[in-house]
Assembly symmetry: C2
Homo-oligomer: 343 residues x 2
């Protein structure tokens, strides 16, 4: 009795159904059915897609026909709060630029995690025959994909599901953590503290793994006492100052820029100068804070714009997503003035 409405009279077969049946990604199905030149698809995968298309009665040209007749050129973007959360709005910006580039209009719905509003928004997008939907969250996390999204092509942006038939695009937290730590190592710091968040999340585990990777590559033993847990806000950074000082670290990698902002206050109260006495690097590149602290904060950027743009490319079959997990987008360093050259 579960999964009602998905029987004989259920919705039409989608690319996702084909992908599931063929055991490949939606991007691969798209490449095969659209016969994209230049797409390197293995013969085996191609054959399985073609078999699944035949078996399920998928009609790949229905949408193309709609489009050539001047029909829907919409891509939906469902966001839990990114339209209203500082700086994550760049996901919308990136998705929109990329959509426009290919002649699509982005339909944005901000649902604030309200399930009913979310279902309404998605239903209305389906009614307007969107080409597909980007389902995004304002911070990187695991989600359960709403049932209704089974009815269209969906790409997860800044989130992922254990149901790996959904393509996903997420920031490379581990590389980001490694990059942050490497900025401190490159300027001679050897004793580096890491203020990590208390919230379980891919950012927490990924950035820690990257921190350890960087230390290991530099031949430095991991010292658990240098990892401090804090609320991922200014208050958490402020409260961590005493532990940072006690640890004897000469450099600190902060889980995010807000933590760094609070740490600045805490270190200042103890008479310590940044970067002369202690070097600090943040994460996120939340411009309104990072660029305007005293001194301006060196940090690692969450690639929100790129997440949105890559999501559209994956949805349109212009960029393949890996078959075994999310597409990882690099988190680049942003150099400012909070890391000192240690001799």
């Amino acid at each position: 009795m579960s999964a009602t409405g998905h029987g004989r009279n259920g919705p039409a077969v989608t690319m996702r159904d084909v992908a599931k049946a063929a055991g490949v990604s939606v991007a691969t199905v798209s490449h095969v059915v659209n016969d994209k030149p230049g797409a390197r698809i293995g013969e085996d995968a191609r054959r399985r897609v073609q078999e699944a298309v035949a078996q399920l009665g998928y009609r790949p040209n229905a949408l193309a026909k709609t489009l050539s007749q001047g029909g829907s050129r919409f891509i939906g973007l469902v966001a839990d709060a990114i339209a209203t959360t500082p700086f994550a709005g760049q996901i919308i910006h990136g998705a929109q630029d990329e959509a426009w580039k290919h002649g699509y209009v982005l339909l944005v719905a901000n649902t604030d995690g309200n399930t009913e509003a979310e279902n309404d928004a998605i239903a209305m997008m389906l009614e307007h025959q969107v080409h597909g939907i980007l389902y995004s969250t304002w911070y990187h996390r695991e989600i359960v994909v709403p049932e209704i999204l089974q009815q269209t092509e969906t790409v997860l942006v800044d989130c992922y599901s254990t149901d790996t038939t959904f393509a996903a695009v997420v920031p490379d937290e581990r590389q980001g953590g490694r990059t942050a730590t490497e900025q401190l190592l490159a300027t001679g710091h050897r004793r580096i503290a890491f203020i990590n968040t208390t919230s379980p999340s891919p950012a927490r585990t990924g950035r820690l793994a990257g921190y350890r990777d960087a230390l290991e590559s530099a031949g430095i033993d991991f010292d658990e006492s240098l990892v401090i847990s804090a609320e991922p806000q200014q208050e958490g950074g402020y409260a961590s100052a005493e532990y940072v000082v006690a640890s004897g670290a000469s450099g600190v990698f902060c889980h995010n820029d807000r933590v760094a902002m609070g740490l600045y206050d805490g270190l200042r109260e103890r008479g310590l100068r940044i970067p002369a006495d202690i070097a600090v690097i943040g994460f996120d590149n939340q411009e309104v804070i990072a660029a305007h602290l005293r001194p301006p904060l060196t940090t690692v950027a969450l690639p929100h714009y790129e997440l949105g743009a890559a999501g559209v490319r994956v949805l349109l079959g212009l960029e393949p997503a890996p078959h075994d997990g999310p597409l990882l987008i690099a988190c680049p360093p942003v150099m400012r003035a909070s890391i000192h050259e240690v001799l």
Copy 2:
């Protein structure tokens, strides 16, 4: 030769054309042609609208017909950068919630001030037969309305034009400035400095006027030496600290929260405590900063959410806009911990 394409074969007559001819607002036209119960429209205005409708051949029911046939239920929102600018994204949030409430979907286009992209976005919205367009900016300012917007109902949000046939919804800067100053007056401060922005804008003139209003109501002479000009960012606030201290003020009204954040640093370096030694109030309520400073910043909120929601209501004719200028949305105070009770 100017205004090509607006001759005999030009676009259909819009509500705006009727408003222009009748010398009333679009909202008034909407009320008259939709025969809204409860709308108080003067007999003279009603007659002029009806005459203009007859003269121009406006067909008020064409859209309603499209809608009842399940046609377009879109409202367009064109933004120069609000989807990507911290906290102004709340305009989108408010517009979206209000649009959904009335069965409309918001089509958002973020143009970053690129004229070509803007024209493309608006053209595509017109192609999709939007009910109308909200044209918004990320900070309150005067604009020249793009020519193409003559073709549809348009409401300006967070901006306004000298062409007053366009309805506009903007924050009440003057009331906001008065409210900020009153918070300081109410706790006993009499010598109040105002760090104003150097950028010419309605915020600059409006907040100053409100500051003067409040002083006058309290029987305090305006003292020009208490008005300090600064870049509207952290750096400007930091640089103002020495003038604030020299002025002998016991309370400071900062043009925005970013200025207050910089001022905090500058006052701290001089050994002054907030609010024990000096009280500070900001403007904007940029949450990620204001709520997390030490101490948390008392401020006045820019009503972004309300601007978006009111814009939709005006567009749909559910809320009348004044005939002689923008609809002003109140800027409410947000109490935190940076104002001290002075005995």
